[in-house]
């Protein structure tokens, strides 16, 4: 085989322009060595090109329906010069190469609506580097100037003067021999893929039944486990009688495990019926959660001084209270359509896990820690994901599978499957939140705003997962464990800031001269976690709802009054005007009995305004129409943005109208979709999504549509009925 040095000399002699560069820690030497080892051209962690012309893209932000497969393939393909429909797209395994580039979560996780904005530069650069190396390889091969070698856009390089064309596959070796160049990215005028609604690339296996979700993983000799959980958080096993469970046909083991008692069987049905037959006695925890008690204690805290002041403009406390109101939102479950599950296989001193997870980086260290393995001895394979919404940033199901596989697998793979009941009872819930709002109106203007939030720190529950994953892979196990174990207390005490409690409240964009935002954090036995739009999901309902009240008191229109207060915030104003215009806010009247509400909220660096039209009949709310306006910077794929507009409205309406998780003596009362309801087809409004034209850097779209839904809905209900909704869910509130 010809040496790389020889190739480079030949290339240089042929006039190839080799810019010495470095991208993503790789040099020409490492790319060449990788080529010699694998026979494929791998210029970086995302792209592989094989000699038989396969172009493989490794997707490192998981696809859970939000569209990363399509948006991210578009970013790579645009610069690489291939048709994204012919790229093979595979899910990244756990590797530090795939840490989220977002500065706040530099671990391998998909969340926080970071995927598009984080990939915008690196993935286009990855594509461009590969393209330039392919061009240089072609120039050397033909002995021509690289300037005359053009990437056609269909996976080939052409030399116009000699009418010669080579496919990328044929250039794999020559490209791998080149140095990794510095690159310039295409400008918007040159884009052929970015900015267009290319069809989703992930959906064929989702309509023909071939897609493999975590639930669908099948391995030779695999067993299925159901874990009988303690009925309340904090309860422990006193004793069990496993005889009748073991007697069930197909059950192979019944054994106490970290999560409760594992019933392991040939398949799910055998494990489930075995679990149903298990007789287990549990302790009653002293501090079992009770929703009524928690509500009363939050209310007491709101009548006292707050623990922390997080923003203080002017002198809000000196203003007279025109209005004084309490707002309240319940705990919420994620209720992904695919219940939590994972499959673990311990073999040869290693553990492989197949899981629908948003956080391979957390799963890897948590599983390694649970099994006493090094990180390198654990591999996480991400499957298709049946909905995430933040739930799958937790990795409890991976740890469960590894733990049960270790105890009873005997070298066989074990799949742990949650029932829907398990899934609702064992979630990390969107925190319950209660707020007291006091506002002043003087001379037709909003002059004072005091917002006191009482809620639970999410990072006090989940911060340990993140801290453990942030440490380098080689960190000693004891260090990782100690750092992770100390994190929750630091977050709970405020020694490390947890912005999730106050996000959406502290950055209130309205021009109100006296403005004070306060927080009193609480600790409860209820586990809490990230739920699509996180703190914004509760704070936007409160801030936008109370602003409606103040504008009404000031005699202002909900839209025009917001406009006045947002004069200095162009992007807020842009989406607000767009939504109002498209909805005909000032130019049309809704039909009799129908009210219109409007809300605007910025989150995750994107902006969203929404107009909702609804009517009310007793405790039933009929939502007719939702008009969504986004400003998410440059749009990579308008079709995906529209889909996320629809998704946010339906997800947000489900929560606002119907959903709450309640605890009695530590037990979650909602058990399945009969008691934890979600919007159904007949309740779905007409949804229109529009975007503000922008040349700002792209920002996220998975979450920012959710926060405005509840306040716009409640504004519509007020307009239709004169009733202010200050507590969610709406249907329960209207029924009282």
């Amino acid at each position: 085989m010809i040496s790389r040095r020889a190739l480079l000399k030949l290339g240089a002699a042929a006039g190839g322009a080799f810019v010495v560069g470095c991208a993503f820690g790789r040099t020409g030497g490492t790319v060449w060595r990788e080529y010699k080892r694998t026979g494929t051209f791998q210029p970086n962690a995302w792209i592989r090109i094989t000699p038989d012309d396969r172009v493989i893209f490794t997707l490192d932000r998981v696809e859970m329906g939000q569209g990363t497969t399509t948006s991210h393939a578009a970013m790579v393909a645009e610069e690489l010069g291939v048709d994204p429909r012919v790229m093979e797209i595979e899910a990244a395994e756990a590797s530090r190469d795939y840490d989220n580039p977002d500065k706040q979560i530099r671990i391998q996780i998909t969340g926080g609506s970071t995927s598009t904005r984080g990939a915008w530069r690196p993935l286009r650069e990855a594509g461009a580097v590969a393209r330039e190396m392919l061009r240089a390889g072609a120039a050397w091969t033909w002995g021509v100037s690289i300037g005359d070698c053009r990437a056609v856009g269909d996976g080939s390089i052409a030399h116009a003067k000699s009418k010669r064309v080579l496919r990328y596959g044929a250039l794999a070796g020559a490209a791998a021999a080149q140095d990794v160049p510095a690159v310039e990215l295409k400008g918007p005028a040159q884009w052929a893929i970015i900015g267009r609604s290319i069809d989703r690339l992930d959906i064929r296996p989702k309509v023909d039944g071939r897609g493999v979700y975590g639930m669908d993983v099948q391995l030779p000799g695999m067993l299925t486990a159901v874990i009988v959980r303690p009925p309340a958080a904090g309860a422990t096993l006193v004793r069990m009688d496993a005889a009748s469970a073991r007697a069930r046909a197909g059950v192979v083991a019944v054994e106490a495990c970290a999560g409760g008692v594992a019933v392991v069987a040939r398949g799910y049905w055998e494990a489930r019926t075995g679990a149903d037959a298990l007789a287990a006695e549990w302790t009653t925890p002293a501090n079992a959660a009770d929703t009524d008690d928690l509500r009363a204690s939050y209310r007491r805290l709101l009548s006292r001084d707050a623990e922390r002041v997080v923003r203080d403009d002017g002198d809000a406390r000196a203003q007279p209270d025109t209005l004084d109101a309490f707002y309240e939102l319940p705990y919420l479950a994620h209720a992904t359509m695919e219940p939590q599950n994972a499959t673990a296989w311990l073999h040869d001193g290693r553990c492989e896990v197949w899981a629908p997870t948003q956080a391979p980086g957390i799963a890897r260290w948590r599983v390694a820690d649970a099994l006493g393995l090094d990180l390198e001895d654990v591999q996480i394979h991400t499957t298709l994901i049946g909905g995430g919404f933040g739930r799958r940033g937790l990795v409890d199901y991976c740890v469960d599978a590894a733990d049960v596989a270790r105890r009873v697998g005997g070298g066989r793979p074990v799949k742990v499957v949650f029932s829907r009941e398990d899934d609702l009872a064992r979630d990390w819930y969107r925190p319950m939140a209660m707020s007291r709002l006091r506002g002043s109106v003087a001379g037709g203007r909003v002059t004072g705003w005091r917002h006191h939030v009482v809620t639970q720190s999410i990072l006090a529950d989940e911060g340990g997962d993140f801290v453990g994953a942030l440490l380098p892979n080689g960190a000693p196990r004891a260090v990782r464990r100690l750092a992770s174990a100390s994190a929750p207390r630091l977050f709970a005490r405020g020694a490390m800031p947890d912005s999730t409690s106050i996000e959406g409240a502290v950055e209130l964009p309205y021009a109100i001269p006296n403005l004070r935002v306060e927080l009193t954090p609480v600790e409860t036995p209820v586990p809490v976690g990230f739920w699509r739009s996180v703190g914004h999901s509760h704070n936007a309902f409160v801030t936008e709802g109370f602003l409606d009240e103040l504008l009404h008191a000031a005699g202002k229109d909900a839209y025009l009054g917001r406009r006045e207060l947002l004069a200095a915030n162009a992007r807020h104003l842009g989406v607000l005007d767009l939504a109002a215009t498209k909805a005909g806010w000032t130019t049309s009247t809704p039909p009799p009995g129908v009210g219109r509400g409007i809300a605007v909220h910025a989150s995750f660096e994107s902006y969203c305004a929404m107009v909702i039209e609804a009517s009310v009949d007793g405790a039933r709310v009929r939502v007719r129409r939702a008009v969504v306006a986004f400003d998410c910077g440059r749009v990579v794929n308008p079709g995906l943005v529209a889909a996320q507009g629809e998704s946010a409205v339906i997800f947000g309406l489900s929560a606002a109208l119907k959903q709450q998780i309640t605890h009695r003596a530590g037990r979650v009362q909602e058990t399945n979709f009969g008691s934890y309801k979600a919007l159904r087809m007949f309740e779905c409004p007409i949804i229109e999504t529009y975007t503000v034209a922008s040349d700002a850097e792209p920002s996220g779209i998975g979450e920012p549509g959710v926060p405005p839904v509840a306040p716009a809905l409640c504004g519509a209900i007020f307009a239709a009925t004169g009733k202010r909704i200050r507590r969610l869910p709406v249907e329960a509130e209207l029924a009282t």
């Binding site: 989703r200 989702k206 897609g211 299925t224 992904t336 829907r420 629809e646 339906i650």
Partner: protein
């Protein structure tokens, strides 16, 4: 017992109280039919039994007629060619996470067999038992109309 699954005769080794869902998934390896709730509240497990849409998570083996014809998402269309409803799902870019879509598609195929020209109310009646958490209902509605147009 004997069943005819996607046109092929199969002999199934399962206890009488086992739901058809787990026969399909765990015994026959047909994982396209999904487990979502286990109590017929979400529709993710919808299959056709002798032509009718049924919730396979609550349909027990003992309640199936010997030789019952079962069609799952894997059995729609013909080998290599998607059913018109599946094609409409692609054309409207319906799926997001996709987990509920096999059930949505099976319910739609049964609807269109019974009513080739459904209006929006007919679609609401036929599909409101199929839950979607990602919020694909508007696209499902468009896809049903599109498929109905194609099948006429």
């Amino acid at each position: 017992m004997k069943l005819r699954v996607n046109g092929k005769p199969v002999e199934v080794d399962a206890e009488p109280d086992m739901p058809l869902l787990w026969v399909l998934r765990d015994r026959l390896g047909l994982t396209g039919t999904k487990f979502g709730c286990g109590v017929a509240q979400c529709g993710a497990c919808t299959v056709h039994v002798d032509g009718a849409a049924r919730r396979s998570c609550v349909l027990l083996v003992r309640d199936l007629a010997d030789g019952a014809k079962v069609t799952t998402i894997e059995g729609l269309g013909s080998p290599g060619v998607l059913h018109a409803v599946q094609e409409a799902w692609l054309a409207e870019n319906v799926p997001q996470c996709g987990y509920c879509q096999a059930g949505q598609i099976m319910s739609t195929v049964a609807l269109l067999a019974a009513n080739p020209s459904p209006d929006d109310d007919d679609i609401d009646s036929a599909l409101s038992a199929n839950l979607c958490r990602c919020g694909t209902y508007p696209r499902i509605r468009r896809a049903v109309h599109r498929a109905a147009g194609r099948l006429k």
